[in-house]
Symmetry: C2
Subunit: 305 residues, 2 copies
């Protein structure tokens, strides 16, 4: 009973007002799977090059992540570099070397296909769709996307998300996808595109969740120190889906109530907040489930009235 | 047992993407007192000119607001005009005619001085201080300010807020006042300046409240339609303070717990949200306490997990 995660496993170069790292483990699949691994067994589908370090494989394995679908091919691993603005609300991409990721053609190991949960990280929508087609009817499918796919691969994206249970995007992506500025109206229109649930990530301002019967909202966690926001959205997705998988959610059996979805949003927020505390995936080297549950209780405390 | 409110009573010209009104009742004191009047008796201190319309006096009186401190002097009423951006997150001032407000020297009627609650709308900090000095030791004093006073009247402002129980400002004002970008650190520094409680209004993103023992946060209300945000912050202040007055809060008797402050923030958010539904003060012509309490319960519902 695992969660299958597809997406990029990469090396990142990141500069924020708190420091600079030239090369460190990153990528959507990496962040999602590390985050989700605190809740449920995870199996990843991704590609890396010959330069992928054994210590990075070991970090993923140490969290019990199944690497049977991590393909290693000739060439170099996907590399991305970017620099954040002073307030860390904006970032500029300095370098994107797709390398082996350019020809990524995800193939699921047989043992993956029967799994009930599927999280499609931000990759080309056609590949996301292809992965879902390889699965034998997952209980719950969710995924992420970005402005590039919304603008330039719109038809393919719409055909892809039509089959999803939930879509996780940010404010501006929701506005872009719907063509509507009002976030409630944007959400309503996106739910008509297929997904049963829409989660809108708002960074420091928290997150909202929309479903057909209503919505849920939570403010952001007030971090003592935000060192590097890279991967926070993916960690949110991993926490959200990881918690639903842990709870054995099965929408076909009616086990997807609003209270559970709200808690999943809070666990997503908790995981996103931990991610920002250190550069890259550093925080996951020491993070414990106990710390996660403690922060979940903090959310209860600072939102109670 | 009333709330004394000081601030501007004005005429506003407002243009938003939803319409344009050349001249309508406005001003911080107006919005605060209309909002607070749903919770507690209100007495206002303000100045208007000979052009102030009797129908506007009647609107305030219809909400039971005591107008003994509303001075009418020769000249014209304060006039402000502005236009909002397409997403209504920014506005440009087109005209500011201080008129009779330029020489406003608030004098409290005797019956005001014994009242337990004081809310100082956004006016020159020296005048705010002067009003507080005229009161015979109110139980609870709170107020608002803005970037102009923070930048150009810093010394006077610091001397003024030193005596306040709470300060209500927005994100950017908190950063400007503290000189710190991190909102938690900014709040900590501001609490060292005197106020026991700091409320940070974040518009569509909700509000936060900081006190020495912790903080509270709430997301914004998702309005069906935002027509005119003018006065929303003042209505927030009126709802916040009005609720505390209704509850008979007395910090000297220890009656100011975190749960009560959280509820006051939610009532503030409720009142700010109603204000935005119509141009100017229009919404307050029909708004009922029942609608207010229903929206308070909506907040409980969409934040529950």
């Amino acid at each position: 009973m695992s969660l299958v995660v597809v997406g990029s496993v990469a090396y990142d170069g990141v500069e924020t007002p708190h420091g600079k790292v030239d090369r460190m483990l990153g990528g959507a699949c990496t962040y999602i799977s590390l985050s989700a691994s605190y809740f449920t067994p995870v199996k990843i589908v991704a590609v890396v090059g010959e330069d992928f370090a054994s210590e990075d494989t070991e970090l993923l394995a140490s969290r019990g992540i199944d690497l049977a679908g991590l393909e290693r091919v000739p060439g170099k691993t996907f590399f991305w570099a970017g620099v954040y603005s002073q307030d860390m609300n904006d970032r500029t991409t300095l370098q994107t070397d797709l390398n082996v990721f350019a020809t990524f053609d995800p193939k699921l190991p047989e043992a993956y296909k029967e799994q009930p949960y599927l999280l499609l990280g931000n990759i080309q929508p056609g590949l996301q769709h292809n992965v879902r087609q390889q699965m034998k009817g997952p209980r719950l499918t969710g995924g992420d996307t970005m402005n590039y796919w919304i603008n330039d691969f719109r038809g393919e994206l719409l055909e892809t998300i039509r089959h999803w249970d939930f879509l996780l995007i940010n404010d501006s992506e929701a506005r872009l996808l719907s063509g509507l500025n009002h976030i409630g109206q944007a959400a309503k229109k996106i739910l008509e595109m297929g997904p049963k649930v829409l989660i809108i990530k708002r960074g420091e301002y928290g997150a909202m969740l929309f479903h057909r019967a209503g919505h849920f909202a939570i403010p952001g966690y007030l971090l003592e120190q935000l060192r590097d926001p890279t991967g926070a959205g993916d960690c949110f997705a991993g926490g959200f889906m990881g918690y639903l998988a842990e709870q054995g959610v099965d929408p076909s059996a009616g086990k997807l109530d609003a209270r559970l979805l709200g808690r999943a949003v809070v666990y997503g927020s908790v995981m996103g907040s931990f991610c920002c505390e250190e550069f890259g995936v550093e925080r996951f080297r020491t993070l414990s489930r106990q710390e996660i549950d403690r922060r979940f209780e903090e959310f209860r405390h600072f939102t109670a009235f």
